[in-house]
Symmetry: C2
Subunit: 183 residues, 2 copies
């Protein structure tokens, strides 16, 4: 019964408090999204799998009001979560189309600067978004530490772009960039 990291996103949030699938999605979109996204289909799918594995229970709420299933973590669920936390993290994956375009920029050197600038703006925007979350003060404890990572990392990336942009402008028609690519 191997669980995917996405299952642990769901299980981890239920370790805080009972939630509906909708709740989980909205919390994901304001937190783990930046380093581990999850869609409704995934969340509802994982909820079913976790229920079938006995790691969570589902109580359907009062049928008079809005239909709502409150999911609760079980003791075996907490154990599974702690076991996962104690194992070494495996997955680290990045898909950065901006770096890809910069990597191949020798096919159109004029595009390099705008690619870097777009990447810079994107990271700066994310950093601002995360900063306003930090200012709101909702993320505490470890979530707050990870939020700080997100802010600093995006700032670093935006800074790198800024630095590289000036470096590129200073060596005009760039010596390095004119070379043939050979790997």
């Amino acid at each position: 019964m191997e669980l995917s990291p996405t299952a642990y996103v769901v299980l981890g949030m239920l370790s805080w408090r009972p939630m509906s699938g909708y709740d989980i999605k909205s919390v994901v979109d304001r937190s783990t999204r930046f380093f581990w996204a999850a869609s409704y289909s995934q969340i509802y799918g994982e909820l079913r799998a976790l229920r079938e594995a006995g790691l969570i229970t589902a109580d359907d709420g009062p049928q008079g009001a809005r239909r709502r299933t409150a999911h609760r973590i079980t003791e075996p669920g907490r154990r599974a979560l702690r076991d996962w936390l104690a194992r070494e993290p495996e997955t680290f994956e990045l898909r950065d189309e901006g770096l890809l375009k910069l990597f191949f920029a020798s096919a159109d050197p004029a595009s390099a600067a705008s690619t870097i600038a777009a990447k810079r703006d994107r990271h700066a925007e994310v950093a601002e978004q995360l900063e306003s979350m930090a200012a709101a003060g909702t993320a505490s404890g470890y979530a707050g530490i990870v939020l700080a990572y997100g802010i600093e990392c995006n700032r670093w990336m935006a800074d790198w772009c800024e630095r590289t942009l000036t470096d590129l402008a200073e060596l005009p028609a760039s010596a390095g960039a004119r070379q043939r690519e050979t790997i």
Copy 2:
């Protein structure tokens, strides 16, 4: 005829020189892998799609020796590559299981330090790997700039882990980490 970024990995490499699918895979594994991975199945699939779209041609080499198809970019292929380079990068995706574990560490605070240490070691290892590539001097031009990004970024991440590890050790049984998580 929308192409995926992975198709442009193939097209981009063929803009340097003619290559076999095997060649492309080995270059990917020593370069774009760190920000855009691709498997054999994907590469051979994209080669077929690009050939059918007329963006590359395939000449089967001498049949006496080892079977080998040399793929060459066509003029429409170069145009498609330049058009893609000129558009804003879209995809930026991260899947970091280490951050996920840190995020949920309140369910097992004892695991936090080893999670961070594992993440630090992983990034330091990648940085060293990339540094030895840089020392070998194969990556020039824009590929070299992206390589520098990889080195600096992984160094930054490893440093953040190191800093956070000492921060966590200094406030013993961490004030922040003991709080209930609320997002």
